[in-house]
């Protein structure tokens, strides 16, 4: 019995390394990635087809690893709050879509890659997605990227959220079954968007 208890306590220690949060996470520089155009809050440039390669526009800032928050449950939960506060819900609802496309499904107009999602948020997209770059700190944009990707189950299960602060209107992010993203990147946004 004693042995069993000790064993379980030791096993519980394994939980301690689950994730580490750097206290500086919240506020790295407010500088935007080099090269992205400062634009007012308005739909992105019309007519530009989304480029297939990770463009020079949205490279992560200096010292910022590629998709820095994909392993951090805390950052994803911050992303979830930011998603409410910056009113992404206003257009995308809680992932089911509205005036903007659904974000909890497996279809991606501009690509599911963290860099692509970052680019969607920073520069906006032609059919009505406003550009947030330069308006909100880049670290928060990466938190949003992590959360947006978690909505369709692209992040590890232990990182995805299990509950909402508000009334639940959808299964939790954690309950989403990961589906292989169907990237439609490369297809120019047609006039039938938003559908």
């Amino acid at each position: 019995m004693k042995v069993l208890t000790c064993l379980m306590l030791v096993l519980a220690l394994a939980g301690c390394t689950r994730e580490r949060r750097k206290p500086t996470d919240v506020a790295p520089s407010s500088a935007r990635p080099e090269g992205s155009p400062e634009s007012a809050l308005q739909p992105g440039p019309t007519g530009t087809p989304p480029s297939a390669e990770p463009s020079a526009v949205a490279l992560p800032a200096e010292g910022m690893p590629h998709a820095p928050y994909e392993q951090s449950a805390w950052a994803v939960s911050e992303g979830k709050r930011l998603y409410q506060w910056y009113n992404c819900v206003g257009c995308h609802a809680n992932g089911g879509g509205g005036m903007g496309p659904p974000l909890m499904d497996d279809k991606w107009i501009y690509g599911s890659d963290p860099i692509k999602v970052h680019q969607s948020i920073v520069d906006g997209r032609p059919n009505g997605m406003p550009a947030f770059g330069g308006k909100i700190p880049d670290s928060q944009i990466w938190q949003l990227v992590a959360y947006v990707r978690s909505m369709s189950g692209l992040l590890p299960k232990d990182v995805r959220q299990t509950r909402s602060d508000h009334m639940s209107v959808r299964p939790s992010e954690q309950a989403m079954r990961p589906a292989k993203p169907k990237n439609e990147a490369g297809t120019p946004p047609s006039a039938e968007r938003p559908g």
Partner: protein, 334 residues
């Protein structure tokens, strides 16, 4: 200052007491309260006295009768007890009915304390702050502000109550009782202050994490000062005076702030956060959470989540110059 004095000044500063009335509505409610208090006190004293009397008499008799049978019941005495109990029940019912009547009369007299053509304020509860709009038939004369309202002394003021999210409740103890703000169900309340002063209101219906930090500052001004205040609020935001403040305005408009906040007279027109057109004229920040000083303002802007965890304003990472410029700009918004 010793500890006692400090405590005293604290309680004075933040006192919210329904018994220190400042207006006719609160007076009537306090009168009802005192009626209940004294009647209940008298009854309580009588009941305790009767109990003490019964204990003493019972003890004296049991010593006297210890040789005889423990309990004797003759039907004459029992009938007497029944009559007494019946009488007391009737008396209780009469007192309760009198309370009901007094409550009803207070309610009626509260409902009669209205007027027409006075100030009407539309108050909307958000988690966790208040938006106030002073209505006016001419749209350009409507005043929008937040977390602090002014009212003219001696005049009934109509407050229409709305909520944007969950149920809140407005309670300004010195002026009136509680009234709920219910989503989708407009409510109304008449208040009147008879003395100038600051009367703090409070959200009185639990509405989430920062419910306790949801104060509404109510300032009663003499009518001429009130009119001056309202006129000042009607003016759009002061243009930045110097270069630092100009830079601050730019930071505000191009940064995140304008996504949520409005400053009238500029392009900032966010509607999900307190209107900042005259932020420098307010006494507190974030619904009474902090005094409105430059230090607190800077702390709030950089990390609101530290001050009021859960509030719907994200942390901002601004360079020192940008922050100073922003402060200079906001300081000018009188």
């Amino acid at each position: 200052m010793n500890l006692l004095e400090r405590l005293q000044s604290l309680t004075e500063r933040f006192a919210q007491s329904a018994l220190e009335t400042a207006g006719p509505q609160a007076e009537r409610i306090a009168a009802l309260w005192w009626l209940f208090f004294w009647v209940c006190t008298i009854i309580f004293v009588l009941v305790v006295a009767a109990l003490v009397f019964a204990l003493y008499r019972g003890r004296a008799r049991s010593v006297e009768e210890s040789s005889g049978p423990a309990v004797t019941l003759d039907s004459g005495r029992e009938a007497g007890i029944h009559r007494k109990i019946f009488g007391l029940i009737v008396l209780t019912a009469i007192i309760l009915f009198a309370f009901l009547l007094a409550t009803e009369m207070t309610g009626r007299s509260l409902a009669s304390l209205t007027s027409s053509g006075g100030v009407t304020i539309e108050l909307t509860g958000y988690r966790w702050w208040w938006r106030a709009r002073y209505l006016d038939p001419a749209p350009e004369r409507i005043v929008v502000t937040a977390n602090e309202i002014h009212i003219p002394v001696g005049k009934p003021v109509l407050i229409n109550l709305y909520s944007r999210d969950v149920i809140h409740s407005l309670w300004v103890p010195e002026l009136h009782g509680k009234r709920d703000l219910i989503p989708g169900h407009p409510n109304a309340l008449w208040i009147q202050a008879d003395r100038p002063g600051r009367y703090d209101g409070q959200c009185a219906e639990f509405c989430g994490q920062q419910h306790a930090h949801m104060r509404l500052i109510v300032i009663a001004d003499p009518p001429d000062r009130f009119d001056a205040w309202l006129d000042a609020q009607r003016v759009t935001a002061q243009a930045p005076g110097d270069d630092t403040a100009k830079r601050g305005m730019e930071v505000f408009l191009t940064g995140s702030c304008a996504l949520c906040h409005a400053i009238q007279g500029t392009d900032a027109n966010g509607q999900v956060a307190p209107d900042l057109t005259h932020i420098a004229s307010r006494a507190t920040l974030a619904a009474g959470t902090l005094p409105n000083t430059p230090g607190h303002l800077a702390g709030w802007i950089v990390d609101p989540q530290h001050v009021k965890p859960g509030a719907a304003m994200p942390p901002n990472s601004l360079s020192a110059e940008d922050l100073q410029a922003l402060l200079a700009y906001l300081k000018g918004l009188r």
